[in-house]
């Protein structure tokens, strides 16, 4: 039988699976051996099964008002235990630094007084909210959930591409991908221990309960969604169901006397913690956009009065501004006294006129990004941009240097991805998810690997024809088999409302 990887031609970028043609890296050896005997036809069949499962289960994202399935590639991405250890420590370090920064921004602002970060950065940030000043959340946590995007460069080194500490999304695909893969290709999992992911909802719920206002023994947690037309609605519904909490919309909530209630068939019921997936701008028409119908009037005052916790915190956007990103290594040193474990991508700030001129001259060799853009919006990749695009972006940068950064273009690593009948190299990135419960920052083993499906596409995003891959973190030898781990996790999910974190040695073993 023809080997399905025979015709695989590496793309010139760092390949995640192959060291050189035909020779898989150590962490991929078992997977390679399991995939190799499958013929092209078998692969196609399994891929169709996967796709149908996603359509039937309604695993979709909304793009431009249309529900689309989020394609899952058959070939997983594998991360070995040692590298995952680095990612865990690196992301944890970043989240801790950003938490410290946010705490500082909304209280003493020492970091500005000490000249580590310039004042103008604060005053020009559209996501700095005065209403959050002096408002310290009950257990001090503002980044309950963080998503740090990582990419691997040509030399195989992981870099941080951006931080997301507002409402990072995508975790539902991690959970669904694993479920679909274990159902479609169970044999792949039998050869080695893959760390399970289904612990996430219980961890998240524990963190949310831990963030409840003081004196509330049994807090009511809700998930606030903008509604079914939101791109991530599928995720909101899944998380609410897995956590066993109500999925509410703004119209289900009402504030009275600085307390928050939901409207039920038996009248109003108090709410203590809101895991909101609604942006600051739409959260409360009294403080932010007055025309918003997605939020609840009065919720910010109720939170400021200490009667309800909003997760993630209001005003977090000041910390994941892409211009602040360039200062994160300094923030890690300033707040934690540590050296960054995961480097940034080489980035230029354009608020210095000299640098700005250099960058404008060299725009064709650089990547230009709006500091505020999410989902690859507005990014111009110099080497592949048309002269018109370059002219337009030069104009935009000259107009608002604060609104842009420039980066060295990184040729993202590739991973074999099923295109038609055969695997072909496609560029990928990685978004690990971190949950901060106030005592510890826990990382979901793996995270979301996104694939840019069009050949050569370097912006990895679902709205640009992206897909995803199941992401495997290999465990230590001798760790329990994934099947029994999955079985053990069932009660945690089913009884999620009662789950409380154990802070024992097992927890430390996660590192």
């Amino acid at each position: 039988m023809a080997d399905i990887f025979d015709s695989y031609v590496m793309a010139g970028a760092w390949d995640e699976m192959f060291e050189r043609p035909g020779v898989p890296r150590r962490q991929y050896q078992a997977l390679f051996a399991a995939l190799q005997p499958l013929g092209a036809h078998e692969l196609r069949t399994r891929a169709e099964q996967l796709a149908r499962m996603f359509t039937d289960r309604g695993v979709t994202f909304d793009y431009a008002g249309v529900e689309r399935p989020f394609p899952l590639d058959l070939i997983p991405r594998v991360i070995d235990a040692a590298e995952w250890d680095l990612v865990t420590r690196g992301v944890r370090q970043r989240i801790r630094a950003l938490e410290a920064f946010l705490d500082d921004v909304y209280s003493a602002r020492q970091v500005f007084h000490d000249g580590v970060v310039p004042w103008r950065l604060l005053h020009s940030s559209p996501h700095y909210h005065r209403v959050a000043h002096g408002w310290r959340p009950p257990n001090g946590v503002r980044v309950h959930v963080g998503g740090t995007d990582l990419i691997r460069d040509e030399d195989g080194v992981l870099h941080v591409l951006e931080d997301n500490v507002r409402t990072p999304s995508g975790v539902s695909y991690v959970l669904e991908n694993r479920l679909a893969m274990t159902r479609t290709l169970p044999t792949l999992f039998s050869e080695q221990y893959v760390r399970p992911v289904e612990e996430y909802p219980a961890r998240l719920l524990a963190a949310l309960r831990g963030a409840a206002p003081a004196g509330v023994a049994d807090p009511t947690v809700v998930l606030l969604t903008p509604g079914v037309y939101n791109a991530a609605y599928f995720e909101h519904a899944l998380l609410a169901r897995l956590m066993g909490v109500e999925l509410v919309e703004g119209r289900d909530l009402v504030c009275e006397n600085n307390r928050l209630y939901m409207i039920t068939t038996y009248g109003r019921r108090p709410v203590h913690v809101v895991y909101r997936r609604v942006d600051d701008d739409f959260l409360d028409p009294l403080h932010f956009r007055g025309d918003s119908v997605l939020g609840c009037p009065g919720i910010v005052n109720a939170a400021r009065a200490g009667n309800v916790t909003i997760a993630n915190g209001v005003g977090n956007g000041v910390a994941d501004d892409k211009l602040v990103y360039t200062y994160v290594p300094d923030l890690i040193d300033y707040y934690l006294g540590e050296a960054p474990l995961l480097p940034n991508v080489e980035t230029y700030r354009l608020d210095d006129p000299d640098i700005c001129d250099h960058v404008l001259a060299a725009a064709a060799e650089l990547v230009l990004k709006p500091v505020d853009g999410a989902g690859g919006k507005g990014i111009v990749i110099g080497p592949v941009a048309t002269p018109e695009q370059l002219a337009a972006v030069r104009e935009a940068v000259r107009e608002d240097p604060r609104g842009w950064i420039a980066q060295r273009p990184v040729l993202l690593s590739t991973s074999p991805t099923l295109v038609g009948e055969r695997p072909a190299p496609r560029h990928i990135d990685l978004r690990p998810f971190a949950v901060n419960d106030g005592d510890d920052v826990w990382l979901l083993p793996g995270g979301l690997t996104r694939v840019a499906l069009p050949e050569g596409e370097l912006v990895v995003n679902s709205s640009r024809g992206g897909g995803s891959k199941d992401t495997w973190v290999l465990g230590e030898p001798g760790a329990p088999a994934s099947i029994s781990a999955a079985a053990a996790a069932v009660p945690a999910t089913a009884g999620a409302a009662q789950w409380s974190p154990s802070r024992t040695a097992a927890w430390e073993g996660e590192q």
Binding site: G58, R241, D252, M262, T265
Partner: protein, 296 residues
Amino acid sequence: MTRPLLSRIAETLYWIGRYVERADDTARLLDVSVHRMLDEPETSGSLYAVLGLSPAAPASPQAVIRRLAYDVDEPASIASSITSARDSARGVREVLSSEVWECLNVTWHHLSGLESRPPHAYLAFVRERAALFFGLADATMSRDDCWRFIVLGRSLERVDMTTRLLAVHLAGDRRLLLQASGADESFTRTHGARDGEVLEFLLLDRLFPRSVVYSLLTAEKCLRALAPDTTRAGVADEAQAAIGRVRAGLEYADLNELRDRLPELLGALQEACAAAGEAITKRFFQRREAMAWVGA
């Protein structure tokens, strides 16, 4: 201890129950009517009238099927009901079991692909999927308020649609009526091959689950569990009162007069369903008042 249910979710569940039952009943109604239309083309007019649609000139069976089954722009069509049920379910996925949600989602995905098949295959598919939906809801959902709102919606819709079915086919073949209600075999086992008791069976039978009285009793049971009555006399809940009154009227009706009083009874049933629907909306489905800025 049942957990309070968001009003928005309760309302959505109630309507999911109604939409799925409506798709099922419309499929049954169409299936038997199409046969009759071949002989009596004017049936299409009474069919439209009974579904509350603007009366059209007598249409071909194909046109009727197209409008009442496939046409997503026709609110009364099966395709619309399934789409509404599925879209509603999408908004309350977290309270439905994933099997129930998948059932509706798969039904919706498959429906448009079936239009090229014979109408009977399409209608049979809809009936089977509706049965699967309610079966899965029964098998995988707790008997809490979520489930009760689905069953309540289904029961009221069933009363409504059985009443309409009777109104269209009053003068027609009694066996078709029985087939449309899936009651053919059950009736024959109970009453033998006579068709004198068909009306009695569809309206008053206490054991057959698609009879009007059975559905009214089910709706009452749901309402009693949702809103237990604590008063010593009378019934405070308006929905319970409306349903209870019409149910008692039916149960104690003189069987010999049943046939003559039928139009009056069917009218009373329609009114009671409408009144109960309004009362349920008022009591359980409150909304936050719309807010607006006042002043300069």
